[in-house]
Symmetry: C2
């Protein structure tokens, strides 16, 4: 068992309760659903989103049961989108663990994702907050629309503005909702809600940029998938955007773009290696740090408390993490 960080220790009991609430959702349903859900929850990662919701909710004295229900709803929604994503991308591993679609038929995988959507919506309704429900369903629409735009867009898109839109849909929208919904549950005023929303938004952007950096700088064991996986799929993230901008005459870049970013192995490995070893990694980190600092600045408009300290620590942790 790894040591808990301060921000985790403040809500560790609640996180356990969130996981229990998630597991309960398959009760009275088909046995294989329970088995699938248990595996998905066991491989659930760092639980950053419920940590955000619970720390913000506790900071403002929100009802703990509602915050746990909300956290479970958001985490289950996230899990549902991952189940469908892995199916669509044909991913066989996530966090080094075999994906559902690597073992089940496409049909069973689609339905499991649908079931998790249904249960996530059900938990969101159990917060008894109409604004939370609306935020929740809007966020799902944002996430899915982002994936559709990405799927139908041309490859080779290295536009920074569109990159930001994409990572908002993919990641920051749900971070934002994890924050804002906690504020709504805790009945805080509009000004505070805006600071809280901004904290989640900026942290989500930073989180995804770091993820995109780690996709280049980490190793296959830690990633649980090949290094440079995004680029191998023709998806151009921040380090590659900056590299293409700075080194347009790099022969591997020219080759990659001339082949419509559908890489062949002859130049994709040296290209990934060049990006790894270039200054664009540090530049990308600077982008992430900027957003982390923005998230902390938003936070510092709120009253000082141990929870605010924890949220600040979490923001720094997100930027400094190595996995």
């Amino acid at each position: 068992m790894e040591n808990k960080l301060y921000f985790q220790s403040l809500v560790s009991n609640e996180i356990e309760a969130v996981e229990s609430r998630m597991r309960e959702q398959a009760k009275y349903h088909h046995d294989d659903l329970q088995a699938a859900l248990d595996i998905l929850i066991d491989s659930g990662g760092k639980r950053i989103r419920p940590n955000i919701t619970l720390l913000i909710g506790k900071m403002f004295g929100g009802n703990i049961d509602s915050l746990i229900t909300l956290s479970a709803a958001i985490e289950l929604l996230h899990t549902a989108t991952l189940v469908h994503d892995d199916l669509i991308d044909g991913s066989l591993l996530r966090r080094g663990i075999p994906t559902l679609n690597s073992k089940w038929t496409p049909g069973a995988t689609v339905l499991t994702g649908d079931f998790l959507f249904a249960k996530a919506a059900n938990l969101a309704a159990e917060t008894n907050s109409i604004p939370v429900m609306k935020l929740f369903s809007n966020t799902l629409a944002t996430i899915v629309n982002g994936e559709i735009v990405q799927m139908f867009s041309s490859h080779c898109n290295s536009d920074l503005d569109q990159y930001y839109k994409r990572i908002y849909s993919k990641t920051a929208s749900l971070f934002e909702t994890s924050s804002l919904a906690a504020g709504i549950i805790s009945n805080i005023d509009e000004e505070k809600k805006e600071f809280i929303r901004l904290y989640g938004y900026e942290l989500g952007i930073a989180f995804q940029i770091i993820d995109d950096i780690l996709d280049f700088t980490s190793n296959q064991t830690q990633l649980g998938k090949p290094v440079g996986g995004d680029l191998r799929q023709g998806l151009i993230t921040l380090p590659a955007i900056l590299f293409f901008e700075e080194y347009p005459n790099d022969p591997n870049v020219k080759e990659f773009i001339s082949q419509n970013c559908l890489p062949s192995n002859s130049f994709i490995n040296p290209l990934i290696e060049n990006i790894r070893n270039s200054n664009v990694i540090q530049k990308s980190l600077d982008f992430a740090k900027l957003h982390t600092n923005n998230s902390i600045s938003a936070l510092l408009n709120l009253p000082d408390s141990q929870y605010r300290d924890a949220l600040e620590q979490m923001a720094n942790y997100v930027t400094e993490r190595k996995i």
Copy 2:
């Protein structure tokens, strides 16, 4: 343009508004989504569910805007499940029109279904009713769980009790929700809600039994797919259940069961033909009529009105329809 029946004429303006609300959902999203949604709505069938919601809501003086929003939510949820079903079953036609999955990749089809789920949930939230939201997400869980049970169950299941459970999940649950949610929106008392719920439940059971009969008695042009399609997939519906029970020694039945209901063409066509021409069709119709009568009995506990007459007419129409 076909002539409208009485029950349709009472809510035809509202049905148009429901379709507009549905179409609006793809606004500000990817263009291909709008095109897909337009096709799905144009091939939308008889709109039985929104007719139920609107007639019940108008009977009790519910807010028309909320009823239109609710109807659009339910119909969009239904559409989303059809999109995923057709993908899972590999169906190329629905109501004679090419399915989304016949033209798009599995990934794009999964995401379109997900998008429709999100928008359906969003519309449900716009009714501003927590009980409606809960009912809505519970119904989605029921539908999806039913499909998962069916997928993981052994073939050759000709148990009547399990057939009823299956058609509840598949069809009657959403009919029930179309009724009950209209009652909730219209703030009727608990006793009336129970009659309304029962009307929807019984009508949904009758509707699916008729669908299962038509799968045998109709023709390929009207069905938009081969006759006996369920049995060809190893799915045993009411006419087949009754036929197997009554004629266990029919050589085609014996052959079908001995091959674990995975049919080969040599005996599936004569088996379908035998079922078509046997007394089990009338027996199945008697089952459907029983449920239609139950739904009308529930209705007759409510005050007399033109809307009640229309709901009664609709129940009879469902049982007597030929398509």
